[in-house]
């Protein structure tokens, strides 16, 4: 019988929600109590049941924990799995993103703080710094966002292992067309409203998250601004017109239906609460041209916030939509956002949510 698992990484540990029908859920945890879990990945490639978690202990530093049994038991390498080479004179602060590559079932990408990308060719056991991005001449000018300076978004291109996109706060979108050897900024059209003289710089934008649609459309939630790219990230056009606000962190694209995208709006960068204090998701079925609110089953008065990686889609059909909040609730919708149910509550701040169906 297949099982759906939801990895819920929080400020103080990781919980795993499980269900065989996505209606009744059990909750296991905490794993790594007091460890800040900002990154998680569920690797179902080749029918695996692997889960990876980026865990930071405020005392004992960052690490990557791995599970081969769907998050029930965990192991940690005795040697550092993600570490900066000696010549960089840099120490890893935190793993912010773990992304299994769709083109090679042995490759896992890791986005970290300080701004850097690592690549594993052994399914996440060991990682090597991607020198092409680390040595980019722009790197000294990349600034930390409020959560730290990190590569937090990694978007490989299915079918083309040479092409890869990353996003960072603050630095913006960078693309590679040679499997990470060289990188170029790719932010035309993305506004950096906070820049005093040039609001459309070549780089330096604070892009919060990029999602890839099944047909290759890209959707970006920026630090004020929501965008779509129809040309693989070369240029970006605003799709914020129909949204209640252009601020937010999370954005998701349907894995099978082109043009369906979800955005979780936040009132403003100075008001990090839901618009109108009404927790909600905004859904578009036309690639962001029009949006409609989805809030049934969500708290009608809420002062929480949904962070950058705290929303996810599962791999089932129909797709399940999940998100977690800074006040420790996790919600699921099985009808693409029309109705939500709470599957966890009273957890610490939710930093990352990932979901998948395991065979």
């Amino acid at each position: 019988m297949s099982e759906t698992i939801v990895a819920i990484g929080t400020r103080k540990g990781l919980w795993i929600a499980r269900s065989t029908d996505r209606q009744a859920w059990s909750l296991e945890g905490p794993h790594f109590l007091m460890g800040e879990v900002a990154a998680a990945a569920i690797d179902t490639r080749e029918s695996r049941r692997s889960v990876l978690a980026g865990v930071k202990s405020w005392h004992w530093g960052p690490t990557v924990q791995a599970s081969e049994d769907g998050g029930r038991t965990w192991t940690e390498s005795a040697e550092r799995s993600v570490a900066f080479p000696t010549d960089t004179d840099t120490a890893l602060e935190r793993v912010w993103q773990l992304t299994p590559d769709p083109n090679d079932s042995d490759i896992v990408w890791a986005g970290v703080e300080p701004h850097a990308l690592f690549r594993s060719t052994d399914r996440g056991a060991t990682y090597e710094l991607v020198r092409g991005l680390w040595e980019h001449p722009h790197r000294p000018a990349w600034e930390p966002g409020f959560g730290g300076g990190a590569v937090h978004t990694i978007v490989p291109e299915p079918g083309d292992p040479q092409r890869l996109l990353v996003a960072m706060s603050a630095g913006g979108v960078y693309r590679s067309a040679d499997a990470g050897r060289t990188w170029a900024p790719s932010n035309p059209g993305i506004r950096a409203y906070f820049m005093p003289d040039n609001e459309y710089p070549e780089y330096g934008q604070c892009v919060h998250k990029v999602a890839r649609g099944v047909d290759g459309e890209l959707f970006a939630q920026n630090h004020k601004g929501v965008y779509r790219s129809d040309d693989g990230g070369v240029t970006w056009d605003s799709i914020a017109a129909g949204l209640p606000t252009d601020f937010g962190f999370a954005i998701l694209a349907h894995p099978r239906r082109a043009g369906t995208v979800w955005n979780i709006p936040v009132a403003d960068d100075g008001e990090r609460i839901p618009p109108g204090a009404r927790l909600q998701v905004q859904r578009s079925e036309d690639s962001g041209r029009t949006w409609r609110e989805q809030s049934k089953g969500l708290p009608s008065e809420s002062y929480t916030c949904v962070l950058r990686d705290a929303a996810a889609l599962d791999t089932a059909d129909p797709v399940g939509l999940y998100f977690g909040t800074r006040n420790g609730d996790v919600f699921v919708s099985l009808d693409e956002g029309d109705l939500f149910a709470r599957i966890a509550t009273q957890l610490p701040d939710v930093l990352v949510v990932r979901a998948a169906q395991l065979d």
């Binding site: 007091m34 202990s57 405020w58 005392h59 004992w60 530093g61 690490t63 940690e76 005795a78 040697e79 550092r80 570490a83 900066f84 000696t86 004179d89 840099t90 120490a91 890893l92």
Partner: protein, 98 residues
């Protein structure tokens, strides 16, 4: 001259990673030794502790304290602090966090 050793005493949170071991005994280097050198030897056979106590540059992590015979080495010379033969080195998690 009798052989002596330095005791590296682990905090409870790290003992779980090394099978419950409370301390590691490290043979003293009669030519002189520092905190960094003692930790190098202590962690040779307990590699997971290396990444917990020090970052990849070899620096003691910000919220980790190392005491040599009761004196806070992380307030002084850090890893370069001299360690007398027969010393006690306590590794503790700093009182921090929320």
């Amino acid at each position: 001259m009798p052989l002596t050793s330095t005791r590296v005493i682990l905090p409870g949170l790290l003992r779980d990673l090394v099978g419950g071991m409370a301390e590691i005994e490290v043979a003293d280097d009669t030519a002189g030794q520092t905190v960094g050198q003692v930790l190098d030897r202590a962690f040779t056979t307990h590699r997971i502790l290396e990444g917990k106590v020090r970052d990849e540059r070899g620096l003691i992590r910000r919220h980790v304290k190392v005491f040599v015979n009761g004196e806070d080495a992380t307030r002084g010379a850090g890893a370069a602090t001299p360690v007398p033969a027969g010393a006690r080195i306590h590794i503790i998690n700093a009182v921090s966090g929320g």
